[in-house]
């Protein structure tokens, strides 16, 4: 009998510990799905399929259940990590009224990418977002944890220059 092929683990002990720490908070292990996806995504900047299988093992679910939930949110990338910085430019109504579309296009043109893509040096993923809940600062962009407010072409250029 051949031994089962050894699969390389995706989750580190630290990630596993973080995920397990959520379990006592909920009466069902499935409820830890979204927290677990966030733990992995924070560490790896994406959630590869291997991680899905391992999360499912910890939470006593079928990998399909975890994958189903992940696929509902457009948020988690699976094929490859997002850039070192992930930036969302709001395109909803208040930002749109203040010129958001032109800003996103300008930034994409400068980087030679489409919205949603990552630059070839892996530094930046630039995406559109729906309302970021900061409409008083329209047009705005959330880059990592930093909110860039009242964006102008100059501010957008400066952001790209300082990456």
């Amino acid at each position: 009998m051949n031994p089962a092929p050894v699969r390389k683990r995706v989750l580190t002990d630290e990630m596993v510990a973080k995920i397990k720490a959520y379990i006592p908070r909920y009466p069902s292990k499935q409820a830890v799905t979204l927290p677990a996806l966030h733990v992995v995504n924070e560490a790896l900047r994406h959630v590869p399929l291997g991680a899905i299988v391992e999360i499912a093992e910890i939470l006593e679910l079928s990998p399909a259940q975890v994958q189903d939930t992940l696929s509902f949110y457009g948020f988690f990338k699976q094929d490859k990590p997002h850039g070192e910085v992930r930036a969302w430019v709001c395109r909803s109504v208040s930002c749109y009224l203040m010129g958001a579309d032109a800003l996103l296009n300008r930034m994409c043109d400068r980087l030679h990418i489409h919205p949603g893509d990552t630059t070839s040096d892996g530094k930046l993923t630039l995406e559109y977002a729906e309302c970021l809940g900061a409409c008083e600062h329209a047009p705005c962009m959330l880059a990592g944890e930093t909110l860039h407010t009242s964006l102008t072409p100059e501010k957008a250029d400066a952001f790209l220059d300082n990456l």
């Binding site: 009466p27 509902f72 949110y73 457009g74 948020f75 395109r91 109504v93 977002a129 329209a138």
Partner: protein, 451 residues
């Protein structure tokens, strides 16, 4: 009229307003001490009921009444979900509260949990609020240290845990049963109601879902009483037997083409004109206004001539809008094309429909395709009727969908085309001089070409 003293925003300008130290120095947690020191959950429920408080999350349901739908003498657990998913375009008042005065929200949440006998609360916050996330987490930690959370709070015998739960950028997670499914770890598909969450909600147990601003109001009601709260706002409209009145302060979000966009507090019932002129510093660049969203994009549109609309729970409905929603006003000046506006709105809803109900999934997607076609200069007058047909047939109100997202998608379509039909007809005739009058089916290939 005497100058209104902010209540919910009273302390946000103080340095370190987000800390327990500053919160307590302004009387914070006195209401909690008072209530836990001698009142029963039922006392709190009755006070909140008497205050006339209605939910600030969008639907305006009377809060005390919602709480009484929980089963009596339930052995537990009962869950409380705090809805901090705030994703309705134009809306940011929950963010203000969570970033600048999170303890106010938490005190209100603890009081609301006590009233409903919940022993676990999940604080569901949208992903895109990193600062609010940090501040609320810090505030929760500070509460455990101070004995406001955990076992046997302030020696009262009442125990409560609050857990933060982070969303992942999906608007539908703000719908209360979508939120519940999301916490449970599944796709955030709203549930068919009944059963309502109060009977069967999170983990199939009785559950209350309330908005951040709602529980912040509860804190002040328990501090200063129901009569005080009821002294602000607008009594029920005698002409509308279903109007329960609009009491208390409200956080209005103002954005778009005004000089001073921001979050402003006033008693319910302020008009759009007052909000723009007295708070927003007037129209930007002295331009004329053309339209405004009265309460988040789902609520539809007001024409500039309708800006005398009072922003209370009964007001926008009288102007053919869906309702007060989140009281987030987005102002558009005369340079805005309603064709562009409606395209933006359709884009949002097509992106955010959860896809569960066919009329919503297909209706939002088709309305976006029609708007793209119109924008691309291939529109026909008949498209406006098609759009209206979609608008009139998707949603809870016509009875074709599970949740209100579809009604929210429909209202901008209905209001934009019915109130600004000329804008659309002009655009279509100007950009499609050869084909605007055609009514034959559009070949599928032509459609594919456009997007």
């Amino acid at each position: 009229m005497a100058e209104f003293e902010p209540i919910l925003l009273a302390n946000i300008a103080k340095p370190d307003s987000h800390t327990r130290r500053v919160y307590e120095s302004t009387g914070g947690y006195a209401a909690l001490r008072k209530v836990l020191g001698g009142q029963t959950p039922n006392d709190v429920k009755e006070t909140v009921k008497a205050s006339g408080l209605r939910g600030r999350g969008g639907a305006g349901f009377p809060t005390g009444l919602k709480w009484t739908f929980l089963p009596k003498d339930h052995p537990g657990p009962i869950y409380f979900c705090l809805n901090a998913d705030e994703s309705e375009p134009g809306t940011f008042n929950n963010r203000y509260l969570m970033e600048l005065d999170p303890h106010q929200v938490i005190e209100g949440l603890i009081l609301s949990c006590f009233a409903t006998s919940a022993s676990t609360a999940y604080f569901y916050m949208r992903y895109e609020y990193p600062l609010a996330w940090k501040r609320v987490q810090q505030a929760v930690d500070e509460c455990y240290e101070a004995g406001y959370l955990g076992k046997n709070i302030l020696g009262s015998g009442y125990s409560l845990d609050i857990f933060l739960h982070r969303g992942a950028a999906a608007y539908i997670c703000g719908e209360e049963t979508g939120l519940i499914e999301s916490i449970e770890g599944r796709r955030a598909w709203p549930r068919i109601k009944p059963p309502f969450p109060a009977v069967e909600g999170l983990f199939r147990k009785p559950t209350v879902v309330n908005n951040v601003e709602t529980v912040a109001c509860v804190r002040h009601i328990m501090d200063r009483g129901a009569d005080w709260f009821k002294s602000m706002g607008v009594p029920p409209d005698p002409k509308n037997p279903r109007d329960a009145g609009s009491y208390g302060p409200k956080l209005y979000c103002l954005s778009g083409h005004v000089n001073k966009p921001g979050c402003y507090e006033a008693p319910l019932g302020l008009t759009v004109n007052q909000l723009i002129d007295q708070y927003g510093g007037g129209m930007r660049g002295g331009k004329k206004p053309k339209a405004a969203i009265p309460g988040g994009i789902s609520m539809g549109l007001l024409k500039a001539s309708e800006f005398d609309c009072p922003l209370d729970f009964n007001g926008p409905g009288k102007y053919a809008c869906l309702g007060l929603g989140t009281a987030a006003v987005v102002v558009m000046d005369e340079t805005v094309s309603m064709v562009d506006f409606l395209h933006n709105s359709c884009q949002f809803f097509a992106h955010e429909s959860c896809g569960q109900c066919t009329p919503c999934r297909e209706g939002t997607a088709w309305s976006l395709r029609l708007m793209k076609r119109i924008l691309a200069g291939k529109g026909r007058l008949k498209d406006l009727d098609l759009l209206l047909e979609i608008g009139d047939t998707i949603g809870i109100m016509p009875g074709t969908t599970i949740c209100g997202l579809a009604d929210g998608a429909a209202w901008p379509i209905k209001n934009a085309i019915r109130k600004f039909r000329g804008d659309f007809e002009d655009h279509i005739k100007r950009t499609n001089p050869e084909g605007w009058m055609r009514t034959d089916p559009v070949p599928a290939l032509d459609l594919v070409e456009i997007h």
